[in-house]
Symmetry: C2
Subunit: 78 residues, 2 copies
């Protein structure tokens, strides 16, 4: 199983992206973790280190897929 | 099978997103069509009507997931 981490901040754009990705992803191949950065603020640094510039975003190995635009990381931190 | 249409324009950001999405999507549930708008220019209007503002983008029913940012539709048309 490959790990995929979906970072979001609870915004409407995030919720829509989460619903769509949850349907889309092949769960036989991917172990998906969903992280709400507004609630798990200790993981903001981890998301930034992975290359997340805005949420919602999906981190897959070394790649980041920024999906639509809910909020910048500065807004998430602010 | 639900239909998913991935629109791109051959740019490096598009190619990377295509590779990742191709791996990610559950092919038992989604029939994925890949459309290169630089080559299939007759489909630009269809993409815009579906709500595509930039490429790469994945259209799922009434939702559009814009994934990272390769080029605006104005750039694709230009």
């Amino acid at each position: 199983m490959e790990k995929a981490v979906f970072y979001h901040a609870g915004c409407p754009v995030c919720v829509n992206a989460e619903e769509r990705l949850t349907e889309l992803i092949d769960r036989n191949r991917y172990d998906v973790e969903i992280v709400h950065l507004g609630q798990a603020r200790g993981r903001i640094a981890e998301a930034e280190a992975a290359g997340v510039k805005s949420v919602p975003a999906l981190v897959l190995g070394h790649d980041v897929l920024h999906i639509n635009h809910g909020a910048t990381m500065a807004e998430v931190k602010g």
